[in-house]
Amino acid sequence: MVTDPNNPVLQIEDLSVAYVTNDGFVNAVNDINLTLYPGEIVGLVGESGSGKSTMANAIMRLLKGDAIVTKGRVKILGRDVYEMSEKQLRQFRWSKMSMVFQSAMSALNPVMTVETQILDTLTSHDKSMTKAQALERAKELMNLVRIDTKHLKSYPHELSGGMRQRVVIAIAIALNPSFVIMDEPTTALDVVVQRSILNEIRRIQEKVGFAILFVSHDFSLVAELASRVAIMYAGRVVEMTPSNTLSLMASEKHHPYTIGLLEAIPELTADEVIITGIPGNPPNLRTLPSGCAFHPRCPFAEEICTKERPVAVTVGPSDIECHLYSGKGMKQHV
């Protein structure tokens, strides 16, 4: 793949997505900026309702029903996804950007063989491809994700959960995209299978070189796989940080929410395990708290946090949206 390492594969500028409801707009994603460079793996972590899946769907222009992009732009390889015609989009999607969905069972068609589904993907994007060529490529893909080619003739229900997810990954990378979104690709799998899929993703990514936006709620998993991690809360990226800072042992400064998440996970190998958790509950998007949406749950909250939404400032290697670092709060750099 020929991509300039300095030209981003994905540029999100001030993106906002809202759901239209009877009570007006409910903002699920608020003014997000995010850039991905070629060959990079970026993690996107958040709790349910933080807007991470909405954002993933917005990037793919797959928003359905009542969700609309109210503001901002999504550029992939420099092209605005929302300015393409339906026809251009159909060509662009999957050949340049693709997506691995959470549930491998529902992402595959249960009444079609694996072969039919891979060939379908290949031939509908490249009409000049002969059936023999497509079959050759299908075999290549099966080898890449390490499934025996005899399973080309299998139906999804004949495969184990891990194999199904491998097939979904094979279909996602069939057309050599520059950019793949993986939306919780291992959540439904057992730990050992999850690990083998992650190793597989890393191996293929190193070989083929596409960029990945890896969406997950599992902090430790994302920290292992990605080089940078975006932490979402209530529709905003509250922190963007290199993944090696995400440990209680690391000394870098973090957003209070990130600290809370780090302290909420019992560490597997530490000598003494103390967990604290974050008080309260994730916010309701209909009644988002004023100012910084995290302030009702934040141990450092002060008056300014209830009034003004913090803007991102660079703190060490991270970009953090918090008044601890904005210079506007009374408490600073705790």
Partner: protein
């Protein structure tokens, strides 16, 4: 309890079998033995299909064991029926994985708690209303007056799981089976539920069987961990001992695969085939995936042998 050293719960050689096509049977639980003392937490760890939930269901007698015995307080409850089951469940309760499915959407929190209190009202003088307040207080759902009138859809996942726990506590049980109580909750909420379980254990001397697939939380909450595979116990040890000196190849694989473990690099390539649960199988259930497999493993089932310090392992080639 007559004797302080007597375990609250003793399970010997538990077998559960289910019929499958072709007049055959599978054994999702096959010869499992363990004991739990009052106020103790045993973590049951295994992947889907390992039989961990089936053991939990057998303990609260939602399924009837095909073999072995379950004794609670010295009483055999393996095959009790009818009224005795109802009485038994005053001692043993269950919290389910999915707090969205385990609560009735058209009943308020108050109704959820009043039902077991009335059904199991041992002492007619107990004030149901006051007891509901006390339960909600205990699980941290305050202000109580507000929470009582709420329907499940008005609560977050963590709050719902607290209601489910309060409901289990309503009958003053001595033992609770918690089947993956945090796996459907958000990360920031999980710690709160784990801490609540820890507090209840300390305050009420409540014993738990904590069922999970996550070693980190199993270690946090459990005094002991029992690793299950294909319906059999692979290894059991005090939690810290198990994580520090894992002996069974499956335990080591599980440990290396868990995110956040110090193990880096590739795992030994093993097949992903599910274990054979059909009755009459031979050998070790993990043999088809084990990196250390020898011909002996396919023929002879390894017995659970003691390594010392309450640490036992069922493997022909323990580390």
């Amino acid at each position: 309890m007559s004797d302080a050293n007597q375990p609250l719960l003793r399970v010997e050689d538990l077998v559960v079998r289910f019929p499958i096509a072709g007049r055959q049977y599978i054994r999702p639980v096959d010869g499992v033995s363990f004991a739990i003392a009052p106020g103790e937490v045993l973590s049951l760890v295994g992947e889907s299909g390992s039989g961990k939930s089936t053991i939990g269901k057998a303990l609260v007698r939602m399924v009837e064991p095909a073999g072995g015995t379950i004794e609670v307080n010295g009483q055999d409850v393996t095959h009790i029926r009818g009224r005795r089951i109802k009485d038994y469940r005053e001692n043993v309760q269950m919290v389910f994985q999915d707090p969205f499915g385990s609560l009735n959407p058209v009943r308020t929190v108050e109704q959820h708690l009043a039902f077991p209190l009335r059904k199991h009202r041992m002492d007619k003088t107990v004030n149901v209303n006051a007891k509901i307040d006390e339960l909600l207080e205990k699980v941290g759902l305050t202000p109580v007056a507000d929470t009582r009138q709420k329907f499940p859809h008005e609560l977050s996942g963590g709050q719902r799981q607290r209601v489910a726990i309060a409901r289990a506590l309503a009958v003053n049980p001595k033992f609770v089976v918690a089947d993956e109580p945090i796996s459907m909750l958000d990360v920031s909420i999980r710690a709160g539920i784990l801490k609540l379980m820890n507090d209840l254990r300390a305050d009420m001397n409540l014993a738990f069987l904590y069922i999970t697939h996550d070693l980190a939380s199993a270690r946090y909450i459990g005094n002991r961990i029992m690793v299950l595979y294909g319906g059999k116990v692979m290894e059991t040890a005090p939690s810290d001992e198990l994580l520090r000196h894992p002996s069974h190849p499956y335990t080591r694989l599980l440990l290396a695969a868990t995110p956040g473990s110090r193990h880096q690099g590739d795992l030994p390539e093993t097949s992903n085939t599910a274990p054979n649960l059909v009755e009459g199988r031979r050998g070790c259930p993990f043999a088809s995936r084990c990196p250390l497999v020898t011909s002996e493993c396919h023929e002879v089932e390894p017995a659970l042998t003691t390594l010392g310090d309450n640490h036992s392992v069922a493997c022909h080639h323990p580390a």
